[in-house]
Symmetry: C2
Subunit: 130 residues, 2 copies
DNA sequence: CCGCATCCTGTATGATACTG
DNA sequence: CAGTATCATACAGGATGCGG
């Protein structure tokens, strides 16, 4: 039983970066609800806004731009008046479903582990945990 | 006539919460590196600290406490002098491997999509994306 | 309708010094 | 060794109002 890779091996640290990248894509208060709205077929700015209760125009605009930069979302402007904008998930964006699904499965078990099964509908409040 | 599911259906929004819970568990700058260090068998506070370059004692302490509250990590104090503390992943904590694996796979593809394949070793810098 | 500019606040994190 | 206390800061996000 040697101490195999107990040194500071940067190739092990190397697994961290892509994982963090994936997390970053979903990070923040609004990315996920927006993605879910888009996956459910909502396309217009105001439509998405309605599906994501509480979000401000500023944040929605910012997050959509971010998702677009990551090529998860396609933005199409129609030359109407007033202007019409359509946001859609790219095929690549759809590949997020698998990741979200994995997170979903684990997250539900977590919820049931941390809280009672009958509290599954309660929002997580970490201040109760201690 | 029903508006099919184009209303504000809270059961669809319901998938968001557990996913967000899972994300929260991994959220922040340090959770993931710490978890990886623990999964690789590093147990002592200072050991973990060494494996997570740049982290301060304050953050390591805080994040370990957070992971412990989420029952991902077990903390055991040995009555030596000076005191010795051992952190280990719980069996439950190990279940995170699957989630991290899913994130890893997606994250690597993402990295190759956003950057060239030869830039895979570069850290993500979103300011370059625009 | 679809945003952007501005200002403001809270939270996450960093720096540093100290203790059992 | 394994932390805590205190102060400082940057950035995410909220509120509000304007503009093509």
């Amino acid at each position: 039983m040697e101490k195999p890779d107990k040194s500071n091996h940067s190739q092990c640290t190397g697994i961290i970066r892509p994982v963090q990248d994936a997390l970053d894509v979903l990070n923040g208060k609004w990315k996920l609800p927006i993605i879910v709205a888009l996956l459910h077929g909502y396309k217009r700015f105001s439509e998405i806004s309605r599906q994501v209760p509480g979000i401000t125009d500023r944040m929605l605009s910012k997050e959509l731009r971010d998702l677009e930069l990551n090529q998860l979302v396609k933005r199409k402007v129609y030359d109407t008046f007033p202007v019409t904008v359509e946001y859609t998930m790219t095929p690549y964006g759809e590949t997020l479903k698998d990741v979200i699904s994995a997170l979903h499965i684990w997250g539900e078990k977590h919820r049931q582990k941390i809280f009672g099964a009958d509290l599954v509908n309660e929002p997580v409040d970490k201040s109760n945990l201690g």
